[in-house]
Symmetry: C2
Subunit: 216 residues, 2 copies
């Protein structure tokens, strides 16, 4: 494997020779499995969708992953400028590798717990308010809680949060689909998964793919 | 919502009133969606599968999630005795809530990095060797890397690792399915997902469900 190959396979998160070889083989399988579904995407968009399918082994994500036209450009600028990345839960934060900016999650912050009790909202939603109060400015990533995504839209509409783009892939049968439909209707550059499906691996794959694109 | 309801909905990971209500509604939807697929399971097995489907919004997991007959009993004993939980990657560790025993992951351990380079194996596999050398004894959880699962089986066959049970849900098109077939053939009590699908949310859902069952 030459240096260029190593570089292109690193997008799968591999860090050893055996890891690279597995990643390269997986990349080829994923690419051929979803080739017909990605043919109208830009190169960057295709790499993001491929990484999402790689991380879930579910080609169905190629059908339901949607990006606004400005998503890649705006998000890559945010990454290049080392703006913040905000995640709804710590699992997403833990999965984000090698970012030179800050990755924040306030779900376990004391202020979040207090706010959630005071206003009878979920901790995921309260954590977004805490981020906004903490002058967050960058890409918001929701891999779990629809209520976090709805709170982002609520604060955005009030002009109370600075957002480059939103990766909105909350999961579940209660509110997830609706929250993503609401995101699609805003002016915010977005990546989302239509319907109830989504989750932390999808969120992590999208962010790490953007970080990797920035390096190439 | 009365106290008993709060207790039963806590299995979804909710921690506020609004969170409980969402969790309860989701639980009902999931239960009805997969009722025909869970009717032959024990109560505990059914709760585990429901939580996996809840965490992925993918009813397909009810078809591919398999447990050996001794899995629940052995795993709950391990949890009750506060034995270790070992995870292949930190994302899985981060997602495990409220366990009174230790949750370990050695993927970023210096010894792991050295071992992986020395033997040209993946860091995920090397991390399992480090755990075994560190006298791991408990439930091993593989949410990502097939090579980690294969290394567990390798060390088990050599009598070099103490395992209560294995939650083996690595994901991907290269080796994941084969590694799970190999697990199924051992004497180790297991939970696995057949085929390429799996991942961190499935691993986390299974462990947190066991921790919650222990409390009931």
């Amino acid at each position: 494997m030459n240096k260029k190959d190593l570089k292109t396979t690193r997008f799968m998160g591999a860090s050893t020779k055996q890891g690279y070889e597995i990643a390269e083989k997986s990349r080829e399988i994923v690419r051929s499995l979803i080739a017909d579904k990605t043919k109208d995407l830009s190169n960057e968009e295709r790499l993001i969708v491929e990484r999402i399918v790689h991380s879930t082994a579910d080609p169905g994500y190629a059908d339901i992953t949607k990006m606004s036209k400005d998503f890649v450009k705006v998000s890559m600028n945010s990454i290049k400028n080392k703006k913040d990345v905000l995640t709804d839960i710590n699992m997403v934060k833990t999965g984000i590798n090698k970012y030179h900016g800050e990755v924040n999650c306030y779900i376990k912050d004391e202020r979040t717990v207090t706010l959630a009790k005071k206003y009878n909202i979920t901790r995921a939603a309260a954590a977004i308010r805490v981020a906004a109060e903490n002058d967050f400015n960058g890409i918001a990533v929701v891999g779990n809680a629809p209520t976090a995504l709805l709170e982002i839209l609520n604060l955005f509409n009030k002009g109370q949060i600075n957002i480059s783009s939103v990766i909105g892939v909350p999961v579940g049968f209660v509110g997830a689909s609706e929250s993503k439909k609401a995101l699609e209707k805003t002016e915010i550059p977005y990546l989302l998964t239509e319907g109830p499906k989504g989750g932390t691996p999808i969120a992590v794959a999208a962010v790490n793919s953007l970080i990797n694109l920035k390096k190439e």
